[in-house]
């Protein structure tokens, strides 16, 4: 199922990959050994920074830079939260890492904690991944038993505890501050920023929050160096990424490709193109929150800048392929239902606006669209955009704007 440059996914076909014996046999935990043997935490951080590893969860913030915001002078407890909430529709890559290669993630976690001076990590796994969470916990136990976690990692002064913490069905908990609230046992209401989590995070302490795939890249960076990582990708956007392709393609699944690969190639080569009888109509390139691209707009490069230049975002790399037979109104209906269902309800524009838009779209989908409805959707989206407490507002507004603007003629044809 996986093609292209394989770093993260190279052994995903092996059934027993999740066992520590297999991981060690493949050379696992060598990066951690290397770091503890001869690199200072600051050196590890610098390497990751030079590697231009951007966050793989959706926001794309440079990981090393984020780590450097944690005040080192403060020697009280600090935390790492691994964002394994994977709620962005169209995204399923982290599931593979958690299920197939948990030790890769554990090693990435250990290296990150070493670099930033963190001794406790919580892996926030979405509630639906129950079985995967259990398996991951077993892997953590294996790692602890072998000395890769615990009070003294590999006999060093560095100690680390990793705990698995499960979510319970709330997309908003993928937003970093809502994740913190959820981890603290509360409703997933995002927090005001500033202060930023690096300074005031979990339990009020400096906290780093990173996506699963982001952390899974750290061991190879430490083993092979920043330059190697950058070369695999693009300057300022290094490495490979795992893209997920879903929709009516012949080979839906995950594909690891270098940053900057071609979207057209991803769909038509790696995912083996459209199924028989299906014609490409549109592509959502980065999870549902990324604005749609029309069929003639897919000749772009899959990098943070490349997709941004096309007016969308690489987001979580969840590529959703839409075919001609699918009415955009039905995509719009799913979209608006999703965001209004998942809005936490804290702030006015999102709470009221997403529900309002869903009501309009539902009416249109039921054949009761009215003149002015599309303009109203645009107006509401513009009133939500940039005015909400957290990015969910934009995540709803921008894709809706994208569909309404790019497929206006089709939507109007479907209305009275």
């Amino acid at each position: 199922m996986m093609t292209g440059a394989m770093v993260l996914t190279r052994d995903f076909d092996r059934e027993d990959l999740f066992r520590i014996e297999t991981y060690l046999e493949r050379g696992g935990y060598a990066a951690l050994r290397k770091a503890l043997a001869g690199l200072s935490p600051a050196q590890v951080l610098a390497e990751v920074k030079s590697a231009s590893l951007r966050g793989r969860g959706g926001a794309g913030f440079p990981a090393g830079l984020k780590w450097s915001f944690v005040p080192q002078a403060d020697d009280g407890p600090k935390y790492l939260c691994v964002n394994a909430d994977e709620g962005e529709p169209g995204t399923f890559k982290d599931r593979y890492i958690l299920a197939h290669d948990p030790h890769l993630l554990i090693e990435g976690i250990a290296l990150t904690c070493y670099a930033v001076g963190i001794r406790t990590a919580y892996v926030y796994i979405r509630g639906e991944y129950e079985h995967i969470a259990r398996r991951f916990e077993a892997a953590v136990e294996e790692a602890r038993a072998r000395g890769f976690l615990g009070e003294s990692v590999l006999g060093s002064k560095f100690g680390l505890d990793v705990f698995v913490h499960r979510g319970a069905g709330a997309y908003i908990c993928g937003e970093e501050t809502a994740l913190l609230e959820s981890l603290e046992g509360k409703r997933g209401h995002p927090r005001l920023k500033p202060p930023f989590p690096a300074v005031v995070g979990l339990f009020g302490r400096p906290t780093v929050i990173n996506n699963v795939e982001t952390l899974a890249n750290v061991p190879s960076i430490i083993l092979n160096g920043a330059a190697w990582f950058v070369e695999h990708g693009k300057p300022k956007d290094g490495g490979t990424r795992i893209f997920g392709v879903s929709g009516p393609v012949n080979r839906p699944g995950i594909f690891e490709l270098p940053v900057g690969a071609s979207l057209r190639e991803l769909i038509f080569t790696h995912a083996a193109g459209m199924r028989t009888g299906k014609t490409l109509k549109a592509v959502i390139p980065g999870g549902l929150s990324a604005p749609v691209l029309k069929a003639d707009e897919i000749d772009i490069l899959l990098s943070t800048d490349g997709v941004a230049a096309a007016g969308s975002m690489i987001g979580s790399g969840g590529v959703i392929v839409i075919d001609e037979a699918t009415p955009m109104i039905s995509v719009l209906a799913k979209m608006t239902k999703f965001y209004s269902h998942e809005s936490c309800g804290q702030c006015t524009p999102c709470r009221v606006g997403t529900a309002w838009m869903h009501k309009i779209v539902r009416r249109i989908a039921a054949g009761e669209g009215r003149l002015g409805d599309l303009d109203e959707l645009i107006r509401l989206s513009e009133n939500i955009k940039g005015r909400t407490l957290c990015p969910l507002g934009d995540a709803a507004a921008l894709p809706i704007l994208g569909i309404v603007r790019k497929f206006r003629a089709e939507l109007e044809r479907g209305m009275r």
Binding site: L192, C344, G345, V352, A355, W356
Partner: protein
């Protein structure tokens, strides 16, 4: 002190102040719903968004801390549009209940709509329907359709009273405010929720449907129901040109005083104050029914009677047989007068006190001492000994009783038996109680809202207040009565 610019004006802001507070300090009001000075900023209503130079998005004034060189615009077109938009979102689901809503006339949503909105509604869908009459407290009703989810009520009970009795349940547009299933808000500070609610979502049954804020006059005063001395506002119908009616006091609300009560008052005072003025009032002078004489003598005659009795005993060298039961619910002026008349002037044998019984200190404000002026009384030299009916019975021929608190300390039969032998009993009270049956002369006294004076609270702070309303019927203030007595006795008041 960072120098910032607000709407082109240079302002020296306090270190660590928010943009909202800095603006407030120079008279620039920034509209807001969820912000309240007693809690941490929430940032959810989005109404206080302002333009900040260098920032691509609007920033929240309630939570943004000032820094040197900050340039803020609070009324630019972008800001006005954002405010209009927030109001539009609120009004999408908010029922236009104004004609039947208690909050009309003092509602933030109404006020801001007229100031920043004034647009036709473009919401053409079905409004969310929710429960409109949820009992959340003994006197509190929640209308979930009106609620704008500002969560001030939740945060008050979380951050101030720390009782966590309200919360936000469900998610998204289905979010609502609720108590734990089957529970009610029982905090003794719960009435503050009505004031905190910026719209008419939380109303109290005492005030519901009774009057309109624009009919009410507000007068500043001090709460007399415990020794905290919370600063209050009395909302009442103005006495002129309507017929004076002691039931025209409708409610009290907190008045901010950082040194005494902060932003709040307790329910004991809030509801007790109104009850004190509306329920069971005694407004007529009267002889005891058995006296058979004119049942409502004029004041002059009543005061003459009282003075004659005093003079008779003093003349016979028996001033020691005069007894007076005071109460520290009286103002400093009244207590000073009482001292001059009874202690220094007459040399009364018994000077005792009957105060409301102590209760449990509760919530964030309510003191155990349920009387406003014990500190004042003590400062005037009284020893505040409790009135003992039996002692009074033996040693008194002429007894003055101020207030009816003695009923709370002793069973009525005991008081009745003890008062039997006392030849003359003069009762000065604002309320009709069983005690009236025992008195020979009943003089109606003004209740606190009808009185001017001062109380000294438990921390020794002396707080003056002016009468808010004119007393009704024959009622006079205790100060007037004592002054009248002093004049007849030739005593310096």
């Amino acid at each position: 002190m960072p120098k910032i610019e607000i709407d082109g004006r240079t302002v020296e802001a306090a270190e660590g102040a928010t943009v909202l507070k800095a603006a407030e300090s120079v008279g620039v009001a920034i509209p807001h719903f969820c912000y309240h000075p007693a809690f941490a900023p929430e940032g959810s209503c989005r109404m206080c968004a302002v333009e900040v130079e260098g920032s691509p998005k609007l920033e929240l004034a309630c939570s943004m801390v000032v820094r040197e060189g900050l340039k803020v615009r609070t009324a630019s077109p972008a800001v006005r549009e954002a405010r209009r938009s927030v109001l539009e979102f609120f009004l999408a689901d908010h029922p236009i209940d104004c004609p039947i809503c208690d909050k009309a006339g003092e509602c933030r949503l109404q006020d801001y709509y007229f100031e920043y909105g004034l647009t036709e509604s473009r919401f053409a869908e079905a409004k969310e329907r929710k429960d409109k009459k949820v009992k959340i407290g003994e006197k509190l009703i929640l209308d979930r359709e009106r609620c704008i989810q500002c969560t001030r009520c939740v945060r008050f009970l979380a951050e101030v009273t720390r009782t966590h009795e309200l919360g936000v349940v469900e998610r998204g547009v289905h979010s609502e405010i609720a108590t734990f299933p089957g529970e009610l808000v029982r905090s003794v500070d719960s009435g503050n929720l009505v004031d905190l609610c910026p719209v008419g979502a939380i109303t109290d049954t005492d005030f519901r449907f009774k009057t309109r804020p624009w009919f009410l006059k507000r007068s500043d005063s001090i709460c007399p129901l415990c020794s905290r001395g919370c600063n209050i506002v009395i909302d009442h119908h103005p006495g002129i040109p309507r017929v004076p009616d002691s039931r025209r006091i409708y409610r009290i609300r907190p008045r901010e005083n950082a040194a005494v009560n902060g932003h709040f008052i307790c329910d004991h005072g809030r509801y007790g104050f109104v009850a004190l003025h509306r329920n069971g009032r005694r407004e007529r002078i009267g002889w005891a029914p058995s006296a058979g004489a004119d049942s409502a003598p004029p004041w002059e005659q009543a005061l003459d009677f009282a003075a004659e009795k005093c003079l008779a005993l003093r003349g016979a060298g028996k001033a020691g047989r005069i007894g007076v039961v005071l109460t520290s619910q009286m103002t400093n002026d009244e207590l000073a007068l009482a001292r001059n008349v009874f202690v220094r002037g007459l040399g009364a044998g018994t000077v005792a006190f009957a105060d409301p019984p102590d209760g449990p200190a509760a919530g964030i404000l309510l003191h155990a001492e349920r009387s406003p002026n014990r500190a004042g009384a003590a400062a005037l030299g009284f020893d505040l000994r409790a009135a003992d009916p039996d002692a009074l019975a033996g040693g008194t021929d002429l007894l003055f009783v101020f207030g009816t608190n003695i009923l709370a300390a002793h069973p009525f039969e005991r008081i009745q038996a003890a008062f039997g032998p006392i030849r003359t009993k003069i009762l000065l009270t604002a309320h009709e109680t069983d005690l009236s049956r025992l008195a020979d002369l009943i003089l109606p006294v003004a209740a606190p809202a009808e009185t001017s004076g001062s109380f000294t609270n438990a921390d020794g702070i002396i707080q003056r207040f002016e009468a808010a309303v004119v007393p009704c019927g024959d009622t006079r203030s205790a100060a007037d009565i004592l002054a009248g007595l002093a004049a007849r006795l030739g005593v310096k008041p």
